[in-house]
């Protein structure tokens, strides 16, 4: 058993003790599950040991996120491991203790002023409102892309004392707003290429989650069709149902192949990574319509209720496809990037992108 398999087994073991639940204003996340993951050293995977992480590579972190996603774990691990943590490390900021959940948000309305509070360079004061903060109220630290006088700033701020508004996505995952009123933060100036890569990384984080959830929804639907009896036989024996499940499988396989390739592009540090991530996000988002619709169709009325587990993932699918940049946004970014070398450059760009 490889190290990665071992990690996945550990996560599965922890998930088995934590039933998926519908996040509510009273219970927005699964704090005990996070604690269990942290106690097992899983919240530092993919982050360098010298920075305070537990080591391992991107593939290990992706494996953890995929497993937690398939199990509908209500914890900010994707944001923490695939996005906020690596961004903090890449910007050379001090990584907070990995047991404390980090999240990320774009903060177009947040300004970062370089502060002269005696702490030297890399200190900023943040002001403004950050909206749509994933796991607001649960995450202890926020990595935010703010506007600085000299250009974009990646800032890391402790939001333990900040009050978040109570908002959620379709799946009940916290997506509140935070008001930053002259809050001290560490930060680093970014180039526009770094900003592009950061946004792409955010999109890839959601794509990895989408791919894992799509795989699991297919698996649940295949299983259900094999168990559910109507007209004296299993649903899976009807050709009409087989066609639907095959169509779902086609979508899921397409998303997995492209998302895996985008993860590889990130791991290799390919210059075309932003295009790969854009494509993965668009493709994953497009698959949600087909897979969620057909999964619900095959599950029938029970899947349309909170009595059945299906909704834990379909509601996330419907949420995630529009987060971290919509399909509309990323499809335009992708097209503009592919046409960057002129009207005849589309095919060469496609063969280079991933």
């Amino acid at each position: 058993m490889s190290d990665q398999d071992l990690v996945v087994e550990t996560v599965r073991g922890l998930l088995a003790k934590h039933e998926p639940f519908d996040p509510t204003p009273e219970r927005r996340w699964d704090a005990p599950l996070w604690t269990a993951l942290a106690e097992n050293g899983l919240t530092g995977v993919g982050l360098p040991e010298e920075a305070g992480g537990s080591g391992g590579d991107l593939a290990d972190a992706v494996a953890i996120v995929r497993t937690l996603t398939a199990g509908a774990g209500a914890v900010p691990v994707a944001e923490h491991l695939l996005f906020a943590g690596p961004a903090v490390v890449a910007a050379d900021l001090d990584l907070p203790p990995v047991e404390e959940p980090m999240t990320f948000a774009l903060g177009p309305a947040v300004t970062a002023h370089a502060s002269d509070d005696g702490d030297g360079p890399g200190r900023f004061t943040l002001s403004g409102t950050v909206t749509d903060v994933a796991w607001s109220g649960a995450a202890r630290h926020l990595v935010v892309l703010a506007a600085g006088a000299a250009g974009p700033v990646l800032a890391l701020v402790d939001v333990a004392g900040s009050e978040a508004t109570d908002a959620a996505n379709l799946a009940g995952e916290p997506r509140g707003s935070l008001v930053l009123d002259d809050v001290a933060a560490s930060g680093a100036l970014l180039t526009s290429a770094q900003v592009d890569e950061l946004k792409a990384r955010f999109a890839l984080t959601r794509s990895v989650q989408l791919a894992a959830a799509l795989e699991q929804v297919l698996a649940w639907t295949v299983q259900y069709a094999g168990e559910r009896q109507q007209f004296g036989r299993a649903l899976a024996k009807f050709q009409a149902i087989q066609m639907e499940l095959a169509e779902m499988a086609g979508e899921v396989t397409a998303v997995t192949a492209l998302t895996d390739a985008a993860v590889q592009a990130l791991a290799h540090g390919d210059a075309t990574f932003p295009l790969a991530a854009a494509a993965a996000k668009v493709r994953a988002g497009a698959a949600v319509e087909v897979v969620a619709r057909l999964a619900h169709q095959v599950h029938g009325a029970i899947g349309f209720t909170q009595e059945h587990k299906l909704h834990h993932l379909t509601k996330r699918l419907w949420s995630w496809r529009d987060e971290a940049g919509s399909e509309l946004y990323w499809s335009r970014v992708l097209a503009e990037g592919l046409l960057a070398e002129g009207p005849d450059g589309l095919w060469p760009a496609l063969t280079r992108a991933v």
Partner: protein, 386 residues
């Protein structure tokens, strides 16, 4: 968590990228010299023996075959890059396509030494073309119901009677690999009693009648066999093993990039239009199409990598073909929604022409090589449903 249809990711291949660059340079020169004009779906409609020979001279046919049979012992990943470049450019590859893609590999696997020696080097030189002899007037998706039969005469040779249809480019091809019934139907095993014959299309008793497709093009034919004597040594593989051999052949037939790039020349024209107008709706549509192309490339590359590992991934190939051919048709609608253009085969506007060609070829995409309903049945089996 992972579904049973997912293959391992394809490793990156520098050799493939090198040959890709060579093919791209070659195509740019040929286009500049006016030796061909870009069209949609050229692996069906673009017959140009001169062009096929040029590919053969450069070592781009029979790429993966042993050198002793005129091949070049290169990887499936390299062949993938070559075929993908040719398709994206809308180059005239139809003459040799079937022979290079599936008949050659079929001969390599099941042919006698004599058959291989005589035929494979000619295919690799771009001089010998093949047709697929599977479908019949009354046998489409239900291939096991074929009625073309071969009986032995006193000399032990086969006497073939029956008809094959939708036989692409039979009028310009040299051989067919023809699936025939060599034993009466066994109702307890419908797949038994079939064989593949290597048939020289110039034999007496063979009549080739054109069947025109929607745009008036002559690619399809009906091939009628009346008491055609096929020498005994032209049996391919084992007598009675035809069904098994045909299934293996279909893996090659279904797994390549032609299953999602038939309408790529339309995307290329659409891209040129969007680059010019920068229309936001056009950019979004181009982005959506590109994301699907990129996903299909990854799926198809995984199949090429599996072939390099010596696998014959029938079920993933069926799945990619289902997704890919659906995409080929969807391209037309995506473009139509955001561009004001009248499709016309005669238009001076290349986008209008590509749209017209794509539309009139579209019904074939999800039929040829196994309908998408048949493919989904295979995928369903892969999912353990049947």
């Amino acid at each position: 968590m992972s579904n049973p249809l997912t293959l391992a990711p394809a490793p990156r291949s520098e050799a493939a990228e090198r040959v890709r660059a060579e093919v791209r340079d070659f195509l740019a020169e040929e286009l500049a010299a006016g030796s061909f004009r870009t069209h949609v779906d050229t692996w069906l409609s673009g017959v140009d023996p001169e062009f096929s020979r040029k590919l053969g001279e450069r070592g781009w046919l029979g790429m993966t075959w042993p050198k002793e049979y005129g091949g070049h012992e290169r990887s499936a990943m390299e062949r993938y890059a070559v075929t993908e470049e040719l398709l994206a450019a809308g180059a005239p590859v139809a003459a040799h396509w079937i022979a290079d893609r599936q008949s050659g590999p079929n001969l390599l696997q099941y042919g006698t030494e004599k058959q291989r020696q005589e035929i494979l080097p000619r295919i690799a030189r771009g001089e010998c073309y093949f047709v697929i002899g599977m479908s019949e007037p009354d046998s489409g998706s239900d291939l096991a119901s074929i009625r073309t039969r071969a009986t032995r005469n006193e000399a032990g040779d086969f006497v073939v009677n029956g008809a094959k249809v939708w036989t692409s480019n039979a009028h310009v091809s040299h051989y067919g690999i023809v699936l025939v019934r060599t034993a009466p139907v066994d109702t307890s095993n419908r797949h038994a009693g079939m064989s593949q014959l290597l048939v020289d299309l110039s034999l007496p008793g063979i009549t080739i009648n054109p069947i025109r497709i929607l745009d008036g093009g002559h690619h399809f034919n009906e091939v009628v066999f009346k008491d055609v004597v096929v020498p005994a040594d032209m049996l391919l593989g084992e007598e009675g093993n035809g069904w098994h051999q045909v299934t293996a052949e279909l893996a090659f037939e279904r797994s390549g990039p032609e299953r999602f790039l038939s309408t790529y020349p339309l995307i290329a024209e659409f891209g040129r239009r969007v680059a010019e107008t920068q229309d936001p709706a056009g950019l979004a549509a181009l982005g959506r199409l590109s994301a699907r192309v990129l996903a299909l490339r990854q799926m198809s590359l995984r199949i090429a990598a599996a072939l390099d590992r010596g696998e014959l991934p029938n079920i993933p190939a069926a799945l990619v073909k289902d997704v890919g051919t659906t995409f080929e048709a969807d391209v037309i609608e995506e473009v139509r929604k955001v561009v004001d253009v009248l499709p016309s085969l005669e238009s001076p506007d290349p986008l209008a022409r590509a749209l017209a060609e794509a539309q009139l070829h579209q019904p074939g995409f999800t039929l040829r090589g196994g309908t998408n309903e048949i493919l989904r049945g295979i995928v369903a089996r892969g999912l353990g449903l049947r």
